[in-house]
Amino acid sequence: MKAIYLDNNATTRTDPSVVDAMLPFFTEHFGNASSAHSFGAEVGTAVKAARQQLQQLLGATHDHEIIYTSGGTESDNAAILSALEALPDRNEIVTSKVEHPAILSLCEHLEKTGRAKVHFIGVDGSGQLDIEAYRAALSDKVAVVSLMWANNETGTIFPVEGLAELAKEHGALFHTDAVQAVGKTPISLKDSAIDMLSLSGHKLHGPKGIGALYVKKGARFKPLIRGGHQERARRGGTENVPAIIGLGKAAELALQHMAEEQGRVKELRDRLEKAVLQRVPNCIVNGDRHDRLPNTTNIAFEYVESEAILLHLNRGGVAASSGSACTSGSMEPSHVLKAMEIPEAALHGAVRFSFSRDNVSEDVDRVVEALPGIVEKLREMSPFWADAEKKTNDSKPVFA
């Protein structure tokens, strides 16, 4: 039985043509891009071409607005820390409660160590930002606003372009963690007010351990990692050339597949969602029904715990994930769903299915076949199910 991978927000399969593009840069073209001789020159040219591929995917004005990093986490850290250093007379950060730990734990740490005052803006039930609270937090004390483009757990998309305009009014730098958005939704940074943007290779069928930070020309930047003059002295260290080439290829492919992502992949997701809602009573889709990544659905099943569902799915050859890290002694539910104030009965029962262009229609069939029985079996075992109010779900396509 073929294993079905529906956890593409965690990571994606490296596209075979990405691997093909990378391989020569381990062996044949092993030169250091900084070297003056021909070994270096050919590599330098290839790196530039890769940078332009990424520039196109982002719709950036210049290729040198892209700084390669080790991934989304480094890009996020570099952006925030740079802003605090670049604007020393401002010491506040505005971010949201639903960011990835790459932003959240850094901000908590900065707050704890007294290096910044952080505003964690809340969200509503669909995961959308509380705009009023956001406006209220902005001031000329804010060095940087960091708000994610799309949420990794629910797929909810923040209106970052507009949010960036608001930040500009107060002279703050605007950063967005677009790790989940890049490659899934069209992006054009040319005319936007976004100063910095993080992305990560392995979320768009590129290699792991490579990412980039876009820094708009003219935006102030202070390097996180100092060393040689690589990346125009904005990120020291010999370039990870094979990965950079791979990310370039992945960007090119992502652009080619953008329509498919918005079309075929979205249809797979919608079909799964609709079928599950029809067949399984008492479940909720978490996320913004109007503004959501095309590949992500987060479905919470009342009165069952997500790990139990995932174990059953895994045995049936289906890989999905739950937002909640059920690892602490007290079973902490996901910080995203908690911020959304998901009803108690569903808070621990959320399962995230995230698709990619690698998925096919049969994958949906398999899940739709397996899931109702799994949930039913677990609910029968649950002490709360017998007395629970049974609710059929809206079987109309929820996300028309």
């Binding site: 002694g329 079973m331 075992m381």
Partner: protein, 350 residues
């Protein structure tokens, strides 16, 4: 991702005795929706023989809580109430071929449901003795409460000391910063609580970095088994005026990292053999209590005034760990009348 034994998987995928037991005469319910897990244990007990004739469960929770519930029913069926009462969370975990440390609370839930059901049968109401606290050290299954208690009871001020007492932070070291935070919090609370005059001194201790950075010749981190911690404490004790506790918070200027000075010789007049026998007896007495909580303690070695014990069972995983260590230590010192340091050691390398 999942480190579940085959036995856990077996009891999760094909749980035994799941469902409602009609005619149950002992029901124990623990947990809640909001906690993410809950268990309702239903027993049919023969009123005359007090033998558990049937047992069924309903569980809401993760894989290991369902498996633990299934294991629990298998363990108690056919036992008398008294035998069933002795089933501990460790028994449940052992039956399942072990549980990952962060999942031990599932077995604890099983144990608690059993106590609740037995109380229900007797017409009593059962109350949990402890609430769960957030797990800090996953390697050794130590939660925030245990660490806080160890810090408070023993006046600890460094992560290394916390490690020596509770094992927390001595594995992968991922939890190092969290332990620092707890140290800071406890010290801050202590500072707030103590008189204003004492505040500056406590504040000094409050920062683990400060202590670590204090001019200490050859800062050797005290590991379980090294004498540094104890000797520093003893020195502090001998210079401080009449401390009530055998181990007091080291004065700020005497860094706990200072090199070891030789320990006072173990109580003169007592033969080694007699001493070891006394230690053995004391620990044997304590084991009765520990086993009740599903834990155990074994004497491994006596080395001067260091008593090496191995904590097993629930002691390792539960919040009792540090209490156990300091409890054993206090008992031994009371019995022997000499300073003793109890050092928990693993029997096997981790």
């Amino acid at each position: 991702m999942w480190e579940y034994s085959d036995k856990v998987q077996e009891h999760f995928f094909n749980p035994k005795n799941a469902g409602v037991l009609d005619g149950a005469n002992a029901v124990g319910e623990v947990g809640a929706l909001s906690c993410g897990d809950a268990l309702k244990l239903m027993l049919h007990i023969d009123p005359v023989t007090e033998i558990v004739l049937e047992a069924k469960f309903q569980t809401y929770g993760c894989g290991s809580s369902i498996a633990s519930s299934s294991a629990l029913t298998e363990l108690v069926i056919g036992k008398t109430l008294e035998q069933a009462r002795a089933v501990t969370n460790r028994d449940i975990a052992d039956f399942l071929g072990g549980l990952p440390p962060e999942k031990m609370h599932c077995a604890v839930m099983g144990h608690e449901a059993l106590q609740a059901a037995i109380a229900n049968f007797r017409g009593e109401v059962w109350r949990p003795e402890h609430e769960e606290a957030a797990l800090v050290c996953k390697c050794h299954g130590v939660d925030a409460r245990a660490i806080e208690r160890a810090i408070r009871d023993n006046g600890l001020s460094t992560v290394e000391q916390v490690g020596a007492f509770t094992m927390a932070g001595t594995g992968c070291t991922t939890c190092y910063e969290q332990i620092e935070d707890i140290l800071l919090r406890v010290a801050t609370e202590a500072a707030a609580a103590s008189a204003a005059s004492a505040a500056p001194q406590v504040a000094e201790i409050a920062r683990p970095e400060t202590v670590a950075a204090a001019p200490a010749p050859a800062p050797v981190a005290p590991r379980p088994g090294s004498l540094n911690l104890f000797s520093a404490a003893v020195r502090a004790a001998s210079t401080a005026p009449a401390p009530a506790k055998p181990i007091v918070r080291p004065a700020a200027e005497s860094s706990p990292l200072s090199p070891a000075s030789p320990l006072p010789p173990p109580s003169a007049g007592m033969t080694n053999l007699k001493k070891i026998r006394l230690i053995e007896e004391t620990i044997e007495d304590l084991r009765v209590y520990l086993r009740k909580d599903g834990g155990d303690c074994e004497l491994i070695d006596v080395d001067g005034s260091n008593v090496l014990v191995s904590l097993t069972g629930a002691c390792v995983g539960c919040q009792m760990a540090s209490v156990t260590v300091s409890g054993i230590q206090e008992r031994l010192m009371a019995k022997l009348g000499v300073p003793i340091r109890v050092i928990p050691v693993g029997r096997n390398a981790h």
